[in-house]
Amino acid sequence: MVDLLAAEWLKVRSARSTRRVAIAVATVVGLMALLAWYVARLYDRVRADSGGRAEVSSPAELAAWLTALCLAVLGVRTITSEFATGMIRTSLTVAPRPGALLLAKAAVVGGIALVTGQLVTFGTALVSRGIVGDRPLGFNAEPLSAEVPVLLAAGLSVLMFAVVGVGLGAVLRSSAGAIATLCMLWYVLPIITINLPAPWSARVSSVMLQELPRQLAGAATADGLLSPLGALAGMVAYAALPLLAGAVLMRRREP
């Protein structure tokens, strides 16, 4: 397993798409800093006539949401690029157990996503709070210490999305198919469920991928129906099920 991990680490490290994803993540953080700076400047200009109140959604959570997509694409690419080039046959010759191979990929991508997710969320939170200073902009109403659970959970969602990416890639074997499916889960499905009439709107929305982190942090809005433990179970299930399906399919299909 150590060798498998080393092999997967080498593959991720040497692929061009990894660098592109890194650039995309850096751009996300930069954009959030820019957003914070712009909001702060605007606040100074209109403070007199807005009564000194403004509501801006948390740049850190937005950064986590965008980073989740970037890392999920990385997760997809680690497996679909092997299917596209035929490298998968070599990989399975060297490591004949598809389950172990997939697990190693998920572990490497998950590790990268775990570190990236936490760095991005906490980094963005620190930078954006530093930029806006003591202007009351909503997202910095509470001290950073009170925001830690939400930030931790948001960072974890990056890990979850990345592993979902690996699983979907293994199931669908096509970058386009896997990324499109991912985007359905990441964005399209949640906006559809929000438009359902009550009561099923809240019920279905609460198990959408992007709604789970806030419920995990116990900071869910009124329509959150899952306990933190339930949300954690949901996140683990989202990560594990595609991976499991991918392992089973890889064992049964000709590579």
């Binding site: 386009a176 559809i192 009439p197």
Partner: protein, 254 residues
């Protein structure tokens, strides 16, 4: 050009991904009916005096992103699969002019998108109305003729999404990058735009791909644009990436 068109049609017709994309888009009809049936059960459970105020979204509009995304993927794959397999070199040997190849692909992709989007969106519209019956659920109160402009503009937006996918695919040369870029333009830019404080939020709201069908049809505009301007913008979303791809050339690493 006829030969190039026939070749592209054969390629689209013979790959499995086309059928997957069309099947996903077609699933919209079923999802739309399920949505209306569920909304109908909520309507039935309401006391009669509260039924008239019930509003449900138009099913064909609610699921429009699914149709748009699946046909955008079709557009992306029409070109990136050739880069991935090296087939593009063969294509350019057979048809040495890049712009002819690209134009033929654009015509075929647009044609498939037009047919699929018309069938799926009109199908969802009709099935939704049938499933709603005589309940007043907001989306089915206007006469069919009043809904036609939005329906036609939505069909056009699907064709544009497919061409946007083809253009991005030709520029990025990678399915992963192109699909991500399409998603960025279609779904991410609107989210980021709503976060921007005025005046930029409002300025960007009027030019979003997601709002253009409503703008063109002259209904429920959030950005409040002119229909003609909306149409020009919609055409621009398809034409600009394809134009860039035409200028850049095939860039095969041969």
């Amino acid at each position: 050009m006829t030969g190039a068109l026939a070749a592209e049609w054969l390629k689209v017709r013979s790959v499995r991904s086309t059928y997957v994309a069309v099947a996903v888009a077609a699933a919209t009809v079923l999802l739309g009916v399920l949505f209306v049936l569920y909304a109908g059960s909520v309507w039935d459970a309401r006391p009669p005096d509260r039924q008239p105020e019930f509003r449900a979204a138009r099913p064909e509009q609610g699921f429009l992103p699914v149709v748009q995304l699946s046909l955008a993927v079709l557009g992306v794959l029409a070109i990136t699969s050739e880069y991935a397999t090296g087939m593009l070199r063969t294509s350019l040997t057979a048809v040495p002019r890049w712009r002819t190849v690209l134009a033929a692909k654009a015509v075929v992709v647009a044609g498939v998108a037009l047919v699929v989007a018309s069938a799926v969106l009109v199908g969802t519209f009709a099935a939704g109305r049938l499933a709603a019956g005589d309940r007043t659920m907001g989306f089915n109160t206007a006469p069919v003729a009043d809904e036609l402009p939005l329906l036609l503009a939505s069909i056009a937006s699907v064709v544009v999404m497919a061409l946007l996918g083809l253009g991005f695919g030709a520029v990025c040369r990678s399915a992963a990058a192109a699909v991500t870029a399409v998603v960025g333009v279609r779904f991410l830019v609107p989210v980021v735009a709503t976060l921007l404080p005025p005046p930029w939020g409002a300025r960007l709201a009027g030019v979003q791909l997601q709002d253009l069908p409503a703008t063109i049809a002259g209904v429920e505009t959030t950005g409040g644009g002119e229909p003609a301007v909306g149409l020009v913008l919609l055409v621009g979303y398809a034409a600009v990436p394809l134009g860039v791809a035409a200028v850049l050339g095939p860039r095969t690493e041969a």
